[in-house]
């Protein structure tokens, strides 16, 4: 049985408790607001932040003289002409301040002598990336922010709260309806301002580096509430995700820091370096950008020169054992426990869905196009254009989170007026409490079907035929999903939770596929085999809205409309 809805009231509702959500909560509380920090998993342990192993880009000038404008130039160059410039500027200009704030809070950035160490990373013109040893950047950032959240007055924490829909009155977002996983009960949260800090959408892909709660739910919430998304076709694939041998207890993007510190060599099955074929000779240094790296690896596999599991080799065999241990200490033992000795054998790597450049349309105050709704972190679209510069994700989480918290607090103080009755509360609660017929619908299997479809057809190498096949598969899945969640509605009903996940994932997958189909060119993370060149005609961003059940794409002088099933 579903119990009666529970209610909560707050000034600011923050949805998602990665770095962006926690920083937003801290700032809103510091500005005097009551905050409800909600997460569908544990507070401050899910999402992407905790998974980030390295690195965080900011023009601190600690390693060598730097200025935010140089970081900005590199960000725009990586973005292949599509960055939202005010957002990119905010990221670069306020990055150093947030890095210092984190330092003051005791995050423990790695130091050389007394100064904060900054590593060189691909796409940067100088050493700019701070980190926490060993492979501990994300966990350290999460832990530090959790500690600050815990000592800030005015923040209530609500884990296991899965937001199902935003609530709206005639004009404004006025809170959210949620499923409380711990009891199965519907929840109505009335909020004067709401911040979406839900991260990206990498769970749409079979091979991904994300937490299980990164299914693009914030994008779906925003769309259904009437907000716009931008750049949804640009999904970043991290070129050297771990592929084989099976490695447990380690994040699949762990080889990035190894490459930062030690270079490493990318090899095909003839044990030859190959990136020079695709325009970038590495010579033992890590210089290849993510879009070109993914392309080079997939093309090498396609040409029959891949490794046994369908990737390429990454070798550190030329590095002395002592250098490996010096750079990665205890990590070398964790690798040994997995049977991996880097001095003897190369490992296999392949592109893996890692980050979403696209997201919710927001201005430099993190205000979306709906009053009362703000966004923060990876959930925001535009700052990174068609390809994100390495190191910008955590910086963006911190900077945008801080700004969103301040803006939401400002909105609560200066703009907010008592709302009309929320229009869609009844519908949202009815859906959460609905009892579907018991059907033979395996949510876990269907989720894998969607992930395989997206990986194979709307992944790092795309074509019209592949994308159309994906859209057909997504439509079929949406019909099978139906309108009512399955299950008994009691506590922690996995099939029911997964049904709500799929409802969001299928909508977002559809938008990614439609935007990828429309963009008939290759630019950054959008690699079209049938349109292999960058086109000057496509030097604009596409936005997407949901109108009457249809996804409407627009951009430049173009306007498209497609029918959702």
């Amino acid at each position: 049985m579903n119990p009666e809805p529970m209610h909560a009231e707050t000034d600011v509702l923050v949805i998602g408790s990665g770095a962006a959500g926690m920083y937003a909560a801290i700032e809103a509380a510091r500005s005097g607001c009551q905050v409800l920090l909600a997460d569908r998993s544990l507070i401050g342990r899910g999402g992407a932040t905790v998974m980030a192993q390295m690195t965080v880009a900011a023009a601190l000038g600690s390693e060598s003289p730097d200025h935010w404008s140089h970081h900005y130039d590199d960000t725009l160059a990586a973005g292949r002409g599509l960055c939202n410039e005010p957002l990119a500027q905010l990221l670069c200009e306020e990055g150093p301040d947030c890095i210092r704030a984190m330092d003051d809070w005791g995050v423990g950035w790695a130091r050389k002598d007394a100064r904060i160490a900054q590593a060189m990373a691909p796409g940067h013109d100088r050493p700019r990336c701070v980190y926490v040893d060993f492979l501990n950047t994300g966990p350290a950032v999460s832990k530090t922010l959790r500690t600050v959240v815990n000592r800030s007055g005015g923040i209530r924490k609500a884990g296991d709260l899965c937001i199902v829909d935003l609530l709206r009155d005639k004009t404004d977002v006025v809170g959210a309806a949620a499923l409380h996983l711990g009891s199965g009960a519907p929840v109505i949260v009335s909020a004067k301002a709401t911040i979406l800090a839900t991260g990206g959408l990498t769970r749409l892909y079979r091979r991904n580096s994300a937490s299980a709660n990164m299914g693009g739910d914030g994008y779906a919430l925003a769309l259904r509430a009437g907000a716009s998304l931008v750049d949804m076709e640009f999904v970043q694939f991290f070129p050297i995700g771990h592929l084989a041998p099976r490695l447990i207890g380690m994040d699949p993007i762990m080889w990035d820091p190894f490459r930062y510190k030690l270079g490493g060599r990318l090899l095909n099955n003839r044990m030859e370096e190959f990136t020079q074929r695709y325009g970038v000779a590495e010579d033992g240094k890590y210089v290849i950008t993510r879009d070109i790296g993914s392309y080079a690896i997939l093309k090498e596999v396609e040409a029959g020169r891949g490794s046994p599991h369908g990737g390429v080799y990454l070798s550190f065999q030329h590095c002395p054992e002592q250098a490996l241990r010096e750079a990665f200490g205890p990590v070398i033992d964790r690798l040994a426990a997995n049977g991996i000795d880097l001095t003897r054998t190369p490992i296999e790597v392949a592109p893996i869905a890692h980050y979403h450049m696209g997201g919710i349309v927001a201005d430099a105050q993190m205000q979306t196009d709906l009053p009362g709704l703000f966004a923060a972190g990876e959930a925001v679209g535009g700052a990174n254009g068609a390809n994100r510069l390495s190191g910008n994700a955590i910086t963006e989480a911190l900077v945008f989170g801080r700004r969103a918290g301040r803006s939401a607090a400002d909105y609560v103080r200066r703009v907010w007026k008592s709302p009309d009755h929320a229009d869609n509360t009844h519908t949202a609660i009815a859906l959460i409490a609905a009892k579907g017929p018991t059907r033979d619908f395996n949510t876990a299997a269907k989720l894998q079907t969607l992930q395989t479809t997206m990986q194979d057809n709307v992944g790092a190498l795309r074509s019209q035929a592949k994308i159309i096949a994906a859209i057909e598969s997504i439509s079929l899945l949406a019909r099978e999903l139906g309108d009512t969640p399955p299950g008994d509605g009691d506590r922690f009903d996995m099939r029911r939770i997964e049904w709500f996940d799929l409802r969001n994932m299928l909508l977002v997958a559809r938008v990614v596929a439609e935007a990828a189909l429309a963009r008939t060119e290759t630019r950054g993370a959008q690699q079209r085999e049938d349109y292999p060149q960058l086109s000057a005609d496509w030097a604009f961003n596409q936005t997407a809205k949901l109108a009457g059940g249809r996804i409407e794409l627009s951009g430049g002088a173009r306007m498209f409309a497609t029918v959702t099933s």
Binding site: P139, M250, D251
Partner: protein
Amino acid sequence: MTESATLRIWRGVDKGGGRWETYEVPFERGQSVLDGLRWIRANRDPTLAIRFSCINANACKECMLELDGTTVYACTARLQPREMTLAPLSNKKLLRDLVTEIAPPTERFTGA
């Protein structure tokens, strides 16, 4: 012949009224217990409740359960080609199957 792991799993929403169910899972060297549980959900029974977030990195610390009476993380415990008994944490409030209430009291939603 391909090897398999036999997972004997506690199911139920009430500690007093549960049952044991047994699943055969294809065994591949190097896999984790969590890999086996996710295989069961996708291929045998999607109603099996488990809790995990980061899947592989041992970062989220959500997938704690009892394996043969010992508390482990399902993502770092290796799957083995033998019978393995999986139960929810005995010192935490049961939510369902292998899922328990592991959040500290101040991080739970309480309404109002």
